[in-house]
């Protein structure tokens, strides 16, 4: 039977092709900027996890006799701040706060925003209007102002920072997801699934959401960068994590009073924010290109 042989051959070439097919990771690595971003993010995560091993001093031990030292003086890699705390160690520990807030707040916003967005887009009608007008209301506040308001209401603390930035992230996700769902729900395979008697829940979570995932992932990546900046901004304004805990924003805030005496404090904490946010954005750009089939060259 030649047709069966031909079919067998097709199956075989398919399997070969699958092996050769460029994985998402490879596509990402090909993009140099994205690769750079990925490496920095990777290093950052390592730093955050192994902070106690990497830090050269305790980040919170004060020694006023050694305040405001310059770079490399007396074994302090990046000098000390106005209380004599090691800036390098504080920045190392600060990466934990930035990452935790960045990721947790975005997860919070993504989960709630996606659920709202998917409900609005999938069911449409009045539910859509109610949810989206509420989201528009939230959108009308400038992002940072909304976070500040929420922080004032909730009070300081790491969890509250996460909740505040998370809530500020909700409308963005709701909008992105709704837009995506509106497109996907018209696909023929959704109609097929309906014609097979599937429930709404099954259609939403098994068919609509997985097919809307790519833009959500990209938007989430970019949002992590935004959330890190927001955390820094809140800490800078004194609304973030409690003072002794090192955060890039609070180091920057302390540093702004000593810009002339010791610019290291502000410079290095600011640089950390800059590099981190830049890397995440570069990575996010690369991810979008890699995930978007229309960008295939």
């Amino acid at each position: 039977m030649t047709s069966i042989q031909a079919e067998e051959e097709i199956v075989k070439t398919m399997e070969d092709k699958r092996k050769k097919e460029q994985s998402l990771f490879r596509k990402l690595i090909k993009n140099r900027l994205a690769a750079f971003g990925l490496i920095v993010i990777f290093l950052l995560i390592i730093t955050a996890i192994f902070a106690p091993l990497i830090a050269t001093h305790d980040p919170n031990t004060m020694d006023v006799t050694k305040a405001l030292l310059g770079v490399g003086e007396q074994g302090y890699l990046l000098g000390t701040d106005n209380f004599g705390r090691d800036i390098f160690s504080r920045i190392v520990y600060g990466s934990r706060i930035s990452l935790i807030v960045g990721i947790a707040a975005v997860l919070f916003g993504a989960v709630i925003g996606s659920l709202l967005g998917v409900a609005a887009g999938y069911f449409g009608g009045k539910l859509d209007s109610v949810i989206m007008r509420f989201m528009d209301g939230l959108f009308a506040f400038p992002f940072i102002l909304l976070a500040i308001t929420l922080m004032t209401v909730l009070g300081q603390g790491l969890i509250n920072v996460i909740i505040a930035i998370g809530i500020a992230n909700v409308p963005g996700f709701a909008r992105v997801v709704r837009g995506q769902v509106l497109g996907v729900k018209e696909s023929e395979f959704i109609e097929v699934t309906r014609s097979l008697g599937a429930k709404h829940r099954r259609i939403i979570f098994q068919h609509v959401l997985p097919n809307s995932l790519a833009p959500i992932i990209v938007y989430a990546t970019m949002s992590v960068a935004g959330a890190i900046i927001s955390e820094a901004a809140l800490s800078f304004l004194g609304l973030g994590v409690q003072p002794p805990t090192a955060s890039w924003g609070s180091i920057l805030k302390d540093g702004k009073d000593f810009l002339v005496l010791n610019p290291n404090m502000a410079t290095f904490s600011g640089l950390s924010i800059l590099i981190t946010v830049l890397s995440i954005n570069l990575f996010g750009d690369g991810l979008r290109d890699a995930l978007d089939p229309k960008m295939k060259v």
Binding site: E7, V192, L196, G197, Q206
Partner: protein, 343 residues
Amino acid sequence: MSDMLLKVENLEVQFRSGSTLTKAVNGVSFSLNRKENIGIVGESGSGKSVTATSLLRLIPDPPGKITGGKIIFEDKDLLKLSDKAMRKIRGNEISMIFQDPSTSLNPVYTVGNQIVESIETHQHLNRKEAKEKAVHMLELVGIPEARKRFSMYPHEFSGGMRQRVMIAIALACNPKLLIADEPTTALDVTVQAQILNLMKDLQHSIDTSIIMITHDLGVIWESCDKVLVMYAGNVVESGTVQEIHDNPLHPYTWGLLDSQITESVSSEEELSTIPGSPPDLSLDISGCPFAARCPFAEEICLEKTPEMIEAAEGHFTACHFQTKEHRLDRKEAKVDDRSNIKS
């Protein structure tokens, strides 16, 4: 249990967009016995797909709405069932195959997964049994190396193979009725015959009725027992395949038959068409909807809507001039006699 599987009475479907109301289906009636196949033909926009999708109550609402009629499936009126009861019918007792197999499968899951999903929705099988059944279904629809193909993604299948998968999904729960909405339109000509033969073979093995929607009369002659010719949301002619094939009565059916490309048409000859286009269904049509394009139309056609009458035994048509007493001469259809009608 009676032999009647499905009875549709005066089905009406309307679509509302803004202030315009489009009457997509206007009082369609037909009935179908067990193991019987019915074909619905008509050009684009004649309401055949809408009729089919309303049987499963899958018309998107809004904008669409089934505004009247009855759909009796076995003993239940589908239009009166709760959503939950309707879900139990979909895919289990009535399944549907769609036109374009390239978009009918979810790209993010393997085909096996999608068959398993359909099985799990309606049957109480565990994962392993469902998988076995899915592989069996793939074998049944003629997919070689079914076990390997089970874990492949839709993009790794050709169009014909994908349509086979769709058939496997639709038939996985042994439905009593299969609605095939132009199942071969998007396929290669060489593959079309294979798919039709497959459907025929499977019909014998699982005892299902088929509603075949198509604009290809050849498909109807091949695979159906009864035919419904639709035009502008109305049934204009219905009867057995034999009758319609040998003795078509409605001028629109003649137009469809003449538009077919047969071997006897030489390459120099101009292909025959039905001049004009179907009426805008959002406007109120008085009289026969086909009047504006009909070569036999007279004043009465514009004024009075023709009723469906039994013009020959078991053969119904809606035309003022096709009655038991009076017949039109089909040969005159070729003559352009529309000078007395303003379209």
